[in-house]
């Protein structure tokens, strides 16, 4: 089935603009007479904000205004799946991580905005900082979010504290106990992954402008999902969606990091307040501290195997560090679990996953969405087992590999496009792998 344009190496349609510098990234946009925005952020990872004094900061020459929660007491919280992140922290309420925003500084120059930011006085009452999800799961751990409805099921291990569990998910396929009984040996290990920044070259950045003629706030900033960012900004500001217009700029990489709202809300507030164009560009430091991370996952994996090299049961326990806010956590941690066996036939699968609030920078979307971490666990297990069996790791994979008709840990039966075995054959061919592979 030969095609004329599909299957061909057509040059990227935006390549020339990017190479010549024609492409308009947020910082390349030109606005007359624009103002600079900077954000004053949390001073402690877990604390009650007792006082926020911007009076000295407002006196800095060039400062147009400084906005705090007092100016906008009716804003709603935002977030991709669960709305749990405040736009600005209110005096008397908690900051939960170092990225929480306390004040929006608007000034004629960047220098003035930065100088004013240093003059904002913050008083806090420190609380216990929970950086380790294991601590957050203890029954006596303080609660990070008191006002989130209970999203948990009744299937949580009764020995753990539920107060910081954002969401739990479970797998139960086949008869796992019987599967382990049928095994000739069991391999059990714990794996740990780390916080990773998606590190797109372009940091979060944008402009906004309030159009008084039609009461529309226009925002020029990158988003991986324009209409979702629009909806999140609009609901936070109690506006109809049509009143928030988001215009995509050229995007300098994202990898999941540009799914969450970043500059958009603070820009929208500043633009509407000043009725002038406003610009906000994060520094790398600010981007790393205040926007989403790849979740560290703690994965306990237990695999039952027969001496002839087949998998009889697989069990996982997954704890994901969700950090201070939900972001994509309600989807990421268990997506990892749903891929716990890798692409191998296992009739009996059990799993529990917990996404746990901590005072770390929040976990969100990053390329692979939990399954990248899980692959480190399952493919380590597979390799360890192959060595125990003294079997060629390629052959061990091949004889357990998914095919048409295989079922995933979710019990989804795969009906088409399952060419895993071909990938094993081809990759080993390319690598001139020693050893034969057979069914």
């Amino acid at each position: 089935m030969s095609k004329k344009y599909v299957g061909k190496d057509v040059l990227k349609v935006d390549a020339q603009d990017k190479v010549t510098g024609e492409a308009q990234y947020p910082s390349d946009l030109k606005f007359e007479d624009y103002l600079h925005v900077k954000i004053k952020r949390a001073t402690y990872p877990h604390a009650i904000l007792r006082d926020l004094d911007v009076s000295k900061a407002k006196q800095v020459e060039g400062v147009v205004d400084i906005l705090t929660e007092k100016d906008y007491p009716d804003l709603n919280k935002f977030g991709l799946i669960i709305k749990d992140q405040p736009v600005l922290i209110k005096v008397g309420e908690k900051m939960r991580f170092m990225g929480d925003a306390l004040a929006i500084i608007i000034a004629e120059t960047e220098e003035a905005a930065l100088k004013a930011r240093d003059k904002i006085e913050v008083e806090v009452e420190k609380l216990e900082v929970m950086s380790n999800p294991q601590r957050a799961l203890e029954k006596d751990a303080p609660t990070i979010h008191n006002d989130i409805g209970d999203l948990c099921t009744n299937y949580i291990d009764p020995d753990v504290g539920k107060q910081n569990i954002l969401m739990d998910h479970h797998l139960e396929k086949g008869d796992v106990d019987k599967g382990f009984e049928e095994a000739d040996f069991i391999v059990e290990n714990e794996y740990q992954t780390q916080h990773i920044d998606q590190l797109p070259i372009q940091n979060e950045a944008g402009y906004a402008l309030y159009d008084e003629s039609n009461d529309v706030i226009k925002i020029w900033a990158a988003s991986q999902w324009l209409h979702d960012t629009q909806a999140d900004v609009a609901q936070a500001m109690n506006l109809p969606k049509e009143k928030v217009r988001i215009i995509q700029t050229a995007i300098g990489g994202a990898f999941g990091k540009k799914e969450d709202v970043s500059v958009h809300l603070h820009l929208a507030l500043a633009a509407r307040h000043t009725k002038r164009p406003v610009k906000l560009v994060y520094t790398r430091e600010e981007s790393m501290i205040s926007q989403s991370k790849r979740h560290p996952l703690t994965i306990k994996a237990k695999t039952g195997v027969t001496n002839d090299g087949y998998l009889t049961a697989w069990e996982v326990k997954v704890i994901g560090d969700a950090g201070a806010y939900a972001s994509s956590s309600p989807a990421v941690v268990h997506k990892g679990m749903y891929h716990c066996t890798g692409p191998y036939n296992v009739q009996n699968v059990r799993g529990d996953s917990y996404a746990v609030y901590t005072n770390n920078t929040y976990g969100g979307a990053m390329r692979g969405f939990g399954t990248t971490q899980m692959a480190f666990a399952y493919e380590s297990q597979i390799d360890i087992i192959a060595h125990k069996l003294d079997m060629d790791p390629a052959q061990f994979r091949y004889q357990n590999a998914y095919d048409i008709g295989s079922t995933t840990p979710n019990g989804q039966k795969l009906g088409k496009s399952v060419n895993l075995k071909r990938t094993i054959e081809s990759a080993t061919d390319l690598a001139q792998w020693e050893g034969e592979i057979s069914e």
Partner: protein, 328 residues
């Protein structure tokens, strides 16, 4: 001493949001009198080639050179929802929406073209932006047809939505009929060299076979394999945002290490193309799967090279040296 090792990883990735989430993309295709074909989509191009993929799909269906295709609507007020560029979904979701919208427009080209030429549909030839009823007959261009259609008060324009169904898994068992629209598979073999004095790892070769269904743009798929793998090697060997008691202590690119040009291995890759998935022309998504194999393939190669198993990421020189010390 330098020791060589070889590791393998096979992975799967269920793409699209799945789990019963109302995942869909809307796209519109229009032939305009100014000799353009406008594809309206709000989908974001993050650098991977979304705009190019949509261009190729529209060009293929509409039988016209890709240079005539223009992607418009990167604006909440100018296009409808295309879903996110995430979850490895855009080629599959927006690609199908663009394909369907383009097919609708092709149907209109045949409809109005056959009225103009007073022919039946099979007699009509549509090719390279022109249509004609026989080889020696009059030809008209798409743009001329757009003008003719406009005189009838109609447009050569169509919108389509791709909205496949998935089901929410049971909360207690996680079981369900269809949790993800489809899965992508990949196998990688990685050759490395470990310096047992310094603990440094050098990745020499990466051999990849990726089950893509069909590559809309093979070069861009190879780009995904290489970019994804290198990003995965960052996770495997160096990247670590260290947060101590809630405070990031390396929030800068001096102390947060990522792969640079000198860390990039040789690549040899094969695309498995059976045209057997549900995306446009049998394709499926590849963006995320390409990062997933790197960390286990590297870890397994480390074991092959020096006989130690590191179970926490990243696999730093310090961890290698400590593990070698313990092994003694």
């Amino acid at each position: 001493m330098k020791k060589q090792g070889r590791g393998m990883a096979s992975i799967m990735f269920g793409f699209g949001y799945g789990e019963g989430f109302p995942d869909h993309s809307i796209a519109e295709v229009e032939i305009t009198k100014d000799k353009r074909i406008k594809v309206r989509t709000a989908g974001a191009d993050l650098g991977q080639g979304f705009l190019t993929t949509m261009t190729q799909i529209a060009a293929e269906v509409l039988k016209i050179d890709p240079s005539y295709i223009e992607i418009v609507g990167q604006d909440t007020h100018k296009a409808k929802n295309s879903g996110s560029t995430s979850a490895t979904r855009q080629t599959f979701f927006s690609g199908n929406a663009v394909r369907e919208a383009a097919e609708e427009v092709m149907g209109k080209i045949y409809h109005y073209g056959s009225l103009y030429f007073n022919s039946n549909h099979p007699e009509l030839t549509v090719k390279d932006g022109e249509l004609y009823a026989c080889d020696e007959c009059e030809k008209i261009t798409y743009w001329e047809l757009a003008e003719i259609v406009e005189q009838r008060g109609k447009e050569l324009k169509a919108e389509a939505t791709f909205f496949p169904k998935t089901y929410a898994p049971d909360r207690k068992t996680g079981q369900g009929e269809k949790i993800y629209v489809a899965y992508t598979f990949m196998t990688q073999v990685m050759d490395i060299e470990v310096d047992t004095d310094t603990g440094l790892i050098e990745v020499m070769n990466v051999y990849t076979a990726l089950d893509v269904g069909r590559a809309i743009n093979p070069q861009n798929v190879h780009g995904q394999i290489e970019g994804g793998t290198v990003q995965g090697l960052g996770m495997a060997m160096m990247e670590d945002q260290v947060i101590e008691e809630g405070i990031t202590i390396n929030a800068d690119m001096t102390n947060y290490l990522v792969p640079s040009i000198q860390d990039i291995p040789n690549f040899e890759s094969t695309l498995i193309e059976n045209n057997d998935s549900g995306g446009p022309f049998g394709s499926k998504g590849v963006g995320e799967p390409t990062i997933i194999g790197a960390s286990p393939a590297l870890s397994n190669a480390v074991y092959d090279a020096i006989g130690v198993r590191i179970k926490s990421l990243p696999i730093t020189p310090e961890k290698i040296l400590n593990a070698l010390e313990e092994k003694k």
